[in-house]
């Protein structure tokens, strides 16, 4: 077994190439704000510029096929790209692009050739930013209970309703959206996915006031929004995966969202916090306290387990191994251990981790943001309870056959 991304000569050359590329391409003006809500439009554009530069080489969506603008790269190369972006405080993609990140692999499975040729290259080349639109005021965990409708009218679908916890600051070009296409149809057989251009008339985007955005780390998400659709006419050709077949399509989307793809986890906050506790000021360090040291070691061990679950999922997904409960297991772990690490930080360092005051906040307020983010992160991509439900089904605890994971390729 080999857990490390041990560079072969070829991989080492690739890492060198990536590093050199990032050195000359990443703008020195890019700032790493503790709270992504503080990201300015200019900062967002700098990240999009980087995305386009990555996309030119197939590095923005490196696992996607080349013919659709991806890189067709093996797992190790994707790991190298992710590593190198993480090293400089960014993510892949370097901006919030959930609709692309989860929509693109779904379109690859369910879209027609025409869909793939039309939608995937702009996503993979970084020319567009895409949001995902799933939750509604009355439908969170119960996604199949959505009410937002798309009714066929000639060559168009007419969309009406409200979506919540959507996207980011600074808008999007497309919305990858699940809607009811047959309001009288049977549950699970009445849904469809539409790729909606955001410049169509009748779309209103209103920012929400939330504790934090939750779980998007280095991608710099910013605010979440409520999106209202008022008789929005979407070309019928933008429906992907077949009318009323949306629940099946959703299983692929949700497999990605529930952690099936596996990301190499970013543990920057853990290392920064440990270093903070070692810092000696006026002859005193937080780690001088034996109780604090015990908690710090526990925090480190917890983060090691989380990292290893992510590593395993990364390997499973990028080598096309059979999966079952592992995606949800990782999501559950990431959410709960994030919450637990936040609490441990409070126990170890007290109010120091709770302030973003310019004078007193450590690490430019990133720890304070982690406190809010770790609580907010409990819900996006399905709650902890839903993750447990999925695990139970996949493990076949209820006596039924083990539910199979959705296809990602």
């Amino acid at each position: 077994m080999d857990f490390a991304i041990q560079d072969t000569p070829e991989q080492a050359a690739f890492r060198k190439e990536v590093r050199a590329f990032l050195d000359r391409t990443v703008s020195p003006k890019i700032e790493h704000m503790a709270d992504p809500c503080d990201m300015s439009f200019e900062q967002y554009q700098l990240r999009r510029d980087l995305g386009r530069a990555l996309g030119e080489r197939g590095w923005l969506y490196p696992s996607m096929p080349k013919e659709y603008g991806g890189g067709d790269l093996p797992a190790e190369h994707i790991g190298i790209l992710t590593d190198e972006l993480t090293r400089i405080g960014l993510a892949l993609p370097p901006y919030y692009d959930a609709g692309g990140r989860m929509g693109a692999p779904t379109i690859l499975v369910w879209g027609t050739e025409e869909h793939k040729k039309r939608f995937l290259p702009p996503i993979c080349r970084g020319e567009v930013r895409t949001w995902q639109l799933l939750s509604e005021p009355g439908a969170g965990s119960d996604l199949a209970g959505i009410k937002c409708t798309a009714i066929r009218d000639g060559d168009h679908y007419v969309v009406n309703g409200q979506k919540m916890w959507v996207g980011s600051s600074h808008g999007a070009d497309y919305s990858w959206t699940i809607l009811v296409t047959d309001p009288k149809g049977e549950r699970h057989k009445n849904l469809s996915w539409l790729m909606i251009p955001m410049d169509l008339p009748g779309i209103t985007v209103t920012p929400m006031d939330l504790l934090a955005t939750g779980g998007e780390g280095g991608s710099g998400c910013g605010v979440k929004n409520t999106v209202f659709f008022d008789n929005v006419r979407v070309p019928a050709g933008n429906l992907v995966g077949g009318e009323n077949n949306g629940w099946k399509v959703a299983t692929t989307h949700l497999e990605v969202e529930h952690g099936g793809m596996g990301r190499m986890a970013d543990r920057r906050v853990v290392y920064e916090f440990i270093n903070l506790c070692k810092e000696r000021q006026d002859g005193w360090a937080i780690a001088d306290d034996p109780g604090a040291r015990e908690e710090l070691v526990n925090l480190y061990i917890e983060s090691e387990i989380t990292r290893l679950f992510a590593t395993r999922n990364h390997w499973l997904s990028h080598t096309n191994q059979p999966r079952s409960y592992e995606g949800s297991q990782y999501s559950l772990r990431r959410k709960l251990s994030g919450l637990d690490m936040g609490e441990k930080m409070v126990r170890i360092a007290g109010p120091l981790v709770l302030t973003k005051d310019k004078r007193w906040a450590p690490l430019r307020g990133s720890i304070e943001y982690f406190q809010r983010d770790s609580i907010t992160s409990l819900h996006p991509g399905a709650t902890t309870d839903i993750q447990r439900v999925i695990m139970a089904r996949r493990l076949g605890i209820g006596g039924r056959e083990r539910e199979k994971a959705a296809n990602l390729r």
Binding site: A4, Q6, V297, F309, Y325, A392
Partner: protein, 372 residues
């Protein structure tokens, strides 16, 4: 990155699985648990014939020089039983200590005989002031001419009742540090007694004026022995992972078959939660363990990973059994059901090669939280 088993490991897994299924059914394991003296007479010969005692020993000393991950794959399968016996103590732990610390003469004399299964070694380290560190060692070897006389009390020594030889950790007169001595288990002055109770394979070892030849003394061998112990720790963890796996399978099957209130209990979300906790512990132990092993085999710094592995596997093994008992309720504590073999083991191995607390303490230094 490749987290799959290679062809060799696949073969090891298959042959170990066949052995556990074929020779170590539940009734056999229960019988061996009631009468541990049967372990050597029934299991040791077939295990030796399969070449298992030689796996962790280099070819030049009569073994097959397998990687630690290879060895761990075997132990995971044995843990699934759980198959008892001194294989880990003798052929992995003591063999590794001899390799790391022993003189050429000691290695040549004993490693081939350990590899063939002819001799069985156990490590006698822990004493009344219990702990897996050198600080707790009071046993002392005094000079007697050119040889030594060893005295001391060792307790909670794993697998000593199976042993033909002991590696005893002691202070040696004239030595600077802590030393390791090879002692014949049948030598005059050695008495070994297995301890009864909710405990698997731990013994009292009394040493009263035991004569030890100078050639059998590894002077100041403790640092090398400690390195060996740390490297072997993830193999023990793999054994615990195997045990967790069986405990999970037992619990899953039980939840899918046991009917109460007119339905199988696996339909109840509270029962499902126990199984989810259990599989989370199993996987945490599994992946921390195998990462440590892969680092050891790759020759990169594995110290932190070894400490993490035992911290996690030690706790996970106990928790896994606890959740299994919540699922099983009454039938789980019926000895003939078999779950309690694992539960007893999870308690007995918690401290073996250092309790999680000791490994967490060591991590404080590794992470630089305390300056040495």
């Amino acid at each position: 990155m490749d987290l799959s088993l290679n062809d060799t490991q696949q073969l090891i897994q298959d042959s170990a699985r066949d052995f556990v299924r074929g020779s170590c059914g539940r009734d056999v394991l229960l019988k061996l648990d009631r009468d541990p003296s049967l372990v050597m007479s029934t299991l040791w010969k077939p295990m030796s014939e399969l070449g298992w005692p030689g796996m962790a020993i280099p070819e030049e000393y009569g073994g097959t020089g397998n990687s630690l991950t290879d060895v761990a794959v075997l132990f995971e399968e044995l843990g699934c039983g759980p198959v008892p016996g001194p294989l880990l103590s003798s052929a992995v732990l003591c063999a590794r200590i001899l390799m790391e610390a022993g003189s050429d003469a000691l290695k040549k004399a004993w490693l081939p005989r350990i590899a063939s299964g002819e001799r069985v070694f156990a490590l006698a380290l822990t004493e009344t002031q219990y702990g897996w560190t050198a600080d707790n060692v009071r046993a002392t070897a005094k000079r007697a001419g050119s040889d030594y006389t060893l005295s001391g009390t060792k307790v909670f020594v794993h697998d000593a009742h199976f042993a033909t030889d002991l590696l005893v950790v002691a202070k040696v007169e004239g030595g600077k540090g802590i030393s390791v001595l090879r002692v014949d288990a049948k030598a005059a002055g050695v008495s070994i007694r297995a301890l009864d109770g909710f405990v698997t394979s731990v013994c009292e070892v009394l040493l009263e004026n035991v004569k030890v030849a100078a050639a059998d003394v590894i002077a100041d061998g403790w640092p090398a022995a400690e390195r060996a112990m740390l490297a072997v720790t993830p193999v023990l963890c793999a054994y615990q992972v195997g045990s967790c796996k069986t405990v999970f399978d037992l619990s899953l099957n039980y939840a899918r078959e046991r009917t109460q209130f007119g339905q199988i209990i696996g339909r109840f979300s509270r029962v499902q939660d126990h199984l989810i906790h259990l599989v989370n512990h199993l996987d945490a132990a599994r992946w921390t363990t195998y990462e440590a092993l892969s680092k050891l085999d790759a020759g990169v710094d594995a110290v932190a990973s070894c400490h993490v592995a035992k911290s996690v596997a030690g706790e996970s093994h106990m928790h896994a059994c606890d959740y299994a008992h919540e699922v099983h309720a009454g039938i789980g504590v019926s000895r003939e059901y078999g779950l309690t073999l694992h539960t007893k083991l999870s308690r007995s191995l918690y401290h073996c090669l250092g309790a999680p607390r000791l490994h967490r303490k060591k991590l404080e230094s590794v992470l630089g939280l305390v300056t040495a």
